[in-house]
Symmetry: C2
Subunit: 253 residues, 2 copies
Amino acid sequence: MSILRTPPVAGTADPSGLPANRVAAGALPCNTCAARQFSICAPVSDADLPHFFAMSVKLRFEPRRYLFDEGDAPRYVFSIASGTVCLSKALSDGRRQITGFLFAGDFIGLAHGETCAYTAEALTPVEVCRFPRDRFERYMTEHPHVERRLLQIASTELAAAQDQMLLLGRKTATERVASFLIRLSDRAVAHGRSGNPVCLPMTRAEIGDYLGLTLETVSRTMTQLRKRGAIDLDNTSVVRLTSEETLRRLAGV
Amino acid sequence: MSILRTPPVAGTADPSGLPANRVAAGALPCNTCAARQFSICAPVSDADLPHFFAMSVKLRFEPRRYLFDEGDAPRYVFSIASGTVCLSKALSDGRRQITGFLFAGDFIGLAHGETCAYTAEALTPVEVCRFPRDRFERYMTEHPHVERRLLQIASTELAAAQDQMLLLGRKTATERVASFLIRLSDRAVAHGRSGNPVCLPMTRAEIGDYLGLTLETVSRTMTQLRKRGAIDLDNTSVVRLTSEETLRRLAGV
DNA sequence: TGGATGCCCTGATCTAGGTCAAGGCAGGGT
DNA sequence: ACCCTGCCTTGACCTAGATCAGGGCATCCA
């Protein structure tokens, strides 16, 4: 696995040219960060934001780059500013399970023990704020609001994981794909974007690795949903939900 | 679903006969609770234990009783003192996925939103300490050590959930059953008990609902593991791991 | 302009595990 | 002593989805 790991590409997010962790308070990029309100930083007070921000470095990862790999020492935690990341676990023969797709506002760094429990890979160009794990934990200890927020995040993640177990253990291929499209749509709405033309910033193979199916089955199921009048494909990565009701029924509760 | 719900049976755990939440500090059942060191109460200081304990009621649930049901208002959180509980989610047609088996020391109450996200059912006679959710949260706010501990628990649960997604999405039936037996064995060891004759306090159907298989496949796979020399069945609910190495190999990483 | 590459779709065939059915065995009640 | 019930096992058969294979269509680069 770790052979596949590629080093991160340093970002250029701070237009001031100053080192990312030494920015004047008034010019904090956080103030214009679209992901802020959905992020771990949401409960950080304006007064404390410079201090919080000072712990971080903003980085950019190109598609197919790894933020970290299963088995690495967990030195950092991340908050996604933009782009799509997938988390995955692999078996030694190459079979893998994607455990989640993450978007702007999502936090990466839970569930690690002595080593990283999963791989985090950029699927699109990704911008993240990266925090050293130990400093982040110290900060949390001193700022219970942030710790409380992280507990909420963990709790939400856990509920999502349980939903996914139900999907993987008991749903049919049609139900899986329909559920997946609905979740993406609902998530877009929750983040204030349109839920209807749903963007799929991942390949059919990646969807398959998320849904416990092969890419062929994902593809076949998509055309089947199209023929049933539930969706329409503008191109392979933009899905219009022509009948959300049909889709929700096919998703099977 | 909620039709199935049965009311809890009040416990008789406190031999003093006093109401469970009014016990003298010196006589705290916590002091002799075998589960204490593995529980949410582990980080509670001895000095604070009476206060913590005063929030709780000790209850006993008989097999097949529900602690709560998917969709209920989440009024309580629980710490298991003894017995086995399963958490599950169901589809409207009856298919269900067990998302976890819980034992002495485990905490129940994460991952709920407005309503309970899953059903909790006693598989054996179960003793729990039950805390009102709101009082428990207030206590946490005032005792960061407990909140920190809950975050650790949530993080561990999340890692386990991701393992389970890999199992459900990508492992074969043999790998699933072998992984399951190994996990039970490892967990017993982690709790200071013997890892080798593994007890299965759940039925084949329940194992199937946990592993995304049918009870027939679980049964067939067990006899296959027996024929391969990996395990031996003393009776249907006690498994001896005759070759742990074979079993770990069959579990596939 | 013409490969080369990466994704996607679709058809033919295969198989792991599901479904259906029958029988065994232990424990509990009368 | 007998039945009933719940659980487990095993056999015969079936099917959803995997596997294998081929072809299409963008995008990129020489």
